[in-house]
Point group: C3
């Protein structure tokens, strides 16, 4: 048809990361005998827990007649398909075909691709490449310190993993999209930001930042004090925001992304904080605030995804305020190409800018 | 975009059968003056009954401005379009253009493709090739014998015609998908099955089969007896299941498929049975049971279709228990290629296997 | 997949008209500070009114992170994006990036394509080509005469602009699709129609037409009289129907189309009439009648669009009764090719036919 919007570069910031671990659910969600259907990077998976308590992940397609395995049943160490009862072990080998006389050779073709799976830090992690032994371990969440309040939360973002990470770690949008709640567009002062890229991560440190204005600022630190603020990205899809305000207040949110499909990202967030006010008091006050912030981010990501898909690609312009987004994409692209930093902790790039905050 | 499931062979078991008859509705559904919209193998058709009682089938697209003809009206032997009133006869020729002065040459271009249509065995059959004289007759349903209860039923299956036929004629899935209702996975004994392929059909005979266990077995034959069980496929899309248990109980289900679209199949089933118990008593007992069986099959077919479409093709593995499925596909492919058996009744292939039932 | 309807020419009567003006909303709908999302020929636009009252139209995609601009805010003469607050002027130049230190060069890349916009005759018109100075002016609606009743109405047609215009200006369908309401298929007499095509428009004059039968005829002219009837098309997408019945009754409907997408057209109609009966009395009587006529047209256009899309193209046949449709397409195609008539008022083609009305 002839009526089309203006031409656009067909590029979209979607990377396919082989040989990396992504979370697919919280560990407590994966009950014995109740397989879950999950999608990782467009690939439908069935995730289940065998009788021995081990998590397992197979391609969600029976080798026999291609029905999904997720509606099936866990029987001991096997998963049985709901259609004809074929049974697969956690390595994807068919171990039983009901009705068949004689022995079954489990190596003979009737296989389902299998992904390594692991319980760690309260999450079930799945390795993104099938039928191989993992070359690395899942990301380790920071251990919660003494006296910290900890909350866990799963959210679904209608954006690419890159757009979701950039949004989670981007400061300038907070004054607009979340105007009034977090930062305000008025009363700005000049501060400094230092961007650092390492072999497997990147961070921005904000220096001279005033105590956050708006409701949340007053809640986080009624007394004021010097603000330390870091935004960090870790490969393959971790976003971390850290605030210290004075000596008493520490706020750390670590979110692990699962790239579900090109424009769908699942985020598993662990929120750890220690404030002057007691956690049990602050938590119910922060909850509706966090929900509203997130709803605004979700709306922006959904609108962005819709426009990108409508135009068939991204057409982004950046300024020096876009600190982490381009670095995250650079690290994702290198990881997609299989490039691994010789020394993950080596500082590869550093830059300082001034901005109005 | 980059995030995709594993590559798959692009094959799907969909055959396009030219020069064959398929049912599109029960005869009583096609009322005088009430055209019906039906789809046969992806082609939208309008099916109608003229004043003389004859069924007719045209492409459901007016030759003038391409609106569908199904919302139109039957006027005598013609079908009149609802937009400008153009009238077509059952051969698809335009016989009247309202408002036009002078004579109309019905041979001049303004045609709609027409398919042969026929009432037979209580069904309206449509020939799959347009604008030709049929080279064969529709399938003949077996005449119901004396003292038989007969029921008719139309069901819609969300699967390819091949998957729907395989499902209808497949024994091993009954112990799992319909576990408890029909067969059970436990208490199995070894029996024999003989597969035979003829020129235009294939059948499996089960020898030594125990009386079906589960609820339906007890209902079909409270007294037990020797079981005779045949599953049969006839070109182009007929599935037949026959059970005899002892001398008194005979159960015959013949289903004619209409391939609506690649993953949609309409089935017109005629159920004929004679049991020791009176039909009027058994029928209301069998009804909910049949509905439940069919709902389970529909769910499995829908899941299978979804996975096949998601992966862009089938990736099937079979064992020797998959008796009729591969034979049906072989016959459908030959029919699609226009190959007709010299002698439809000649036995082309025979095989015996042992299985646990 | 294999199951497909008959092959069809891939042609669809969709023209892309560069350098033409199309209406996108009524002027009163475009409030200060409330941007509107509109689509013109498949291109998403944000239309807004600046503080000075001028209408403006930009591509609905922020140059920064590609979220739509329509959810943004008008700030003075700028439109501010809702995500990071980037501000664009009506020429599409980025004039402010919140948080950025130092001066911004508005010519440097960060632009959004801009379309000329204008308030005229109660409509907001947008030029179909971005970032250029208009080469012509929007269509001028006829000024309402003394003593006329005027009504405005926006309708949405689920058809191509060509199909919508043909439907609006087509006489033969009225006896069928609107049978009984407007014309009836019975009691026809032979009349004449004269078709004339000029450089930028086409018209049909009906001669000897009886007073419209049916309800609306009696309402429009209770007293009868000589009927003058013109149907007119003006480039790029204007349909006009004019009736005079006797000296007292004059009825003029002028509709300007906006091609939203291939199969979606928005129509802005201005109805002007002067009848023997007082306008305030006739209007509430005509209203439900017009609604019903239009609902029938919408249904026919939706069915037509569905069939065309299902078959992947149009397969139209015409008779000499199809007077304006082919001429409209000829004019649209010439306009799409950028051909402009040397003298728009020159008569290029004339033909007279007889028809039964």
């Amino acid at each position: 048809m002839r009526l089309v919007p203006p031409e656009t570069k067909p590029h979209t910031s979607v990377a396919r990361l082989e040989h990396h671990w992504f979370p697919v659910c919280f560990s407590h969600e994966l009950k014995a005998r109740r397989p879950l259907a999950r999608t990782l990077a467009g690939t439908p998976l069935v995730v289940f827990r065998t009788a021995s308590g081990e998590p397992a992940a197979l391609l969600d397609r029976c080798a026999h007649r291609n029905v999904p395995l997720a509606p099936g049943k866990v029987t001991g160490e096997h998963l049985a398909c709901s259609y004809h009862g074929w049974e697969f072990d956690k390595a994807g080998r068919c171990q039983h075909v009901p009705g068949l006389c004689g022995d079954l050779d489990p190596e003979r073709g009737r296989r389902v691709p299998a992904h390594a799976a692991r319980d760690q830090d309260g999450l079930v992690w799945v390795y993104s490449t099938a039928d191989v032994a993992p070359v690395r371990e899942p990301f380790r969440f920071p251990a919660p310190g003494e006296g910290y309040t900890v909350a866990r939360r799963e959210v679904f973002a209608p954006g690419t993993m890159h757009a979701t990470l950039e949004n989670a770690l981007d400061v300038p949008h907070t004054a607009f999209l979340h105007g009034g709640l977090f930062r305000t567009a008025k009363k700005r002062s000049e501060i400094r930001a230092v961007l650092r890229r390492f072999g497997d991560r990147a961070e921005v440190e904000y220096i001279g930042e005033p105590r956050p204005s708006g409701l949340v600022g007053r809640l986080l630190s009624p007394s004021g004090g010097i603000v330390t603020h870091f935004d960090r990205f870790f490969l393959p899809g971790i976003a971390q925001v850290e605030y210290r305000i004075g000596d008493e207040n520490h706020f750390l949110v670590t979110s692990a992304c699962c790239p579900v499909r090109d424009f769908e990202t699942r985020m598993f967030a662990v929120i750890q904080f220690r404030l002057r006010l007691p956690g049990a008091l602050v938590r119910p006050l922060l909850e509706p605030f966090a929900r509203r912030i997130f709803a605004q981010d979700v709306r922006a990501l959904a609108q962005q995804s819709e426009v990108i898909q409508r135009f068939g690609g991204e057409q982004f312009e950046s300024t020096e305020l876009d600190l982490l987004g381009p670095q995250i994409w650079r690290l994702l692209k290198a990881a997609e190409a299989g490039e691994t930093a010789a020394d993950p902790d080596a500082l590869e790039y550093e830059k300082e800018i001034r901005l109005l905050a």
